[in-house]
Subunit: 264 residues, 2 copies
């Protein structure tokens, strides 16, 4: 099977024009050697636009609620502005990108998140199904897919969806067709022994090493759910999960930078 790289970038890249441009250079370069999917999060533009439009951001327990106005804003910003500028940027670098949401080609079907502790998070989607054959059709004809973090419920409702989850579900589904490496770009150099020291990056984590790190309390608590998700992806067909800096994309892919998470 061919290798497929699925790369998720976060707001720290998207919000910084120079960082984004440098990242797209790297991404276009690795796209010459591999099939690729890019998944982007939101960044601060949606928040700024909401302010400009006088839309109050609702927070419950520190979590943002996607009400109808917020959904409109994130659809405009994520699926419109960010997605299409990334696509045009990749096209200008010789990378034949196609930008999609989960509604396009029914790529990602989701359902509105049910109430939790009586809290309605609004138009937030949890992914039910990835239409891997449609995505593979585009990939196998030489396209790079750029996914915005918006899905749909099949009944006409768009839904705001976590980009990390989209990356993971897409990686699992495309493992039927490819040897998938899932790259999460991150502000830190990888999984660190000392959260304040980029030099303490752990190059490889296997399930056995993960148990040891957890038992020895050697790992930052916030990383544990991320690593558990990574192992869940590996258990569902993904070959490698790589965590590290977007600026080091080529070295992440080569395994000479960041943290690679693999099964034994």
């Amino acid at each position: 099977m061919d290798t497929l790289l699925i790369v998720k970038i976060g707001g720290n890249i998207i919000d910084d024009e120079q960082k984004l441009s440098a990242f797209l250079d790297l991404f276009a370069k690795v796209s010459r050697q591999n099939s690729t999917v890019l998944i982007h999060g939101g960044g601060k533009l949606a928040t700024r636009l909401a302010q400009d439009m006088g839309v109050q951001q609702q927070l419950i327990d520190g979590r943002r609620i996607t009400d109808a106005e917020t959904l409109k804003i994130v659809t405009m910003v994520y699926a419109g502005y960010i997605n299409k500028n990334i696509v045009a940027g990749l096209q200008s670098r010789g990378c034949n990108a196609v930008g999609l949401t989960g509604a396009d080609g029914n790529a990602l079907l989701a359902h509105k998140r049910p109430l939790k502790n009586n809290i309605d998070y609004g138009f937030v989607g949890d992914v039910d199904q990835v239409h891997a054959a449609f995505l593979n059709g585009l990939l196998s004809s030489g396209h790079t897919i750029v996914l915005a973090p918006i899905t749909h419920n099949g009944e006409g409702q768009l839904l705001n969806t976590n980009a990390d989850t989209i990356a993971q579900e897409t990686a699992k589904a495309l493992s039927v067709f490819y040897n998938v490496s899932l790259v999460y770009s991150f502000e830190k150099a990888g999984v660190l022994l000392d959260a304040n020291d980029d030099a303490t990056v752990i190059p490889e984590i296997t399930p056995a090493a993960f148990r040891e790190l957890k038992e020895g309390n050697k790992i930052f608590a916030g990383m544990i759910p991320k690593l558990e998700n990574a192992f869940a992806a590996l258990d569902n067909g993904v070959k490698k999960v790589i965590i590290g800096k977007a600026e080091e994309l080529e070295r992440l892919v080569a395994g000479t930078s960041g943290t690679t998470i693999v099964n034994d």
Copy 2:
């Protein structure tokens, strides 16, 4: 060759939720029998958003200038909000829609319009090339394409582009693969002998009939450039151009409503 319907809808449909919903019902229905492309214009949402954001619309000689802020807004509204809501609406009606701009898959390559009479219209694109093979790949795998009126220049710049022009260029390019009928939805029932009376619609116009109508001054002057464009499309491979009400889509396609423009 199979038949392909390319339908352009304007702001009067997009701005009215009920009209849009009724139109999508009809469009999904005709998509069961034919390959289809839908091209949507903008509507008033972009103007309202610009007002909410405090962006002044620049007009020169009554024509809107697409400055950088306006381009950002139309990209958000056309490629994000409108395009993705139409796609989700079609998906919910069993029509496997994929929403694209001209940047996606390099579908429509354009150049920034040169200065005219020393006026810079800003980030407005004139279409150079339609990547018909890419669009045909999606169509022949059973997808409906929903095009937003945004193109790119291949150098990373998105461009605001007239939806009528996109419809016409796409129709010409896809004539290599299909018998294309190009449908322009319109507020009137078709080309009228009396602009105020929908009962005076002319069912068919051939080049000979067009000459006669022009010579007899029997046709509203504003229609002449539209008809000239229609004949130009026919001269470039398009089989029929149909002008009429979106609400009558099925009858337009069947030739029992609206005006059908054909070569002799």
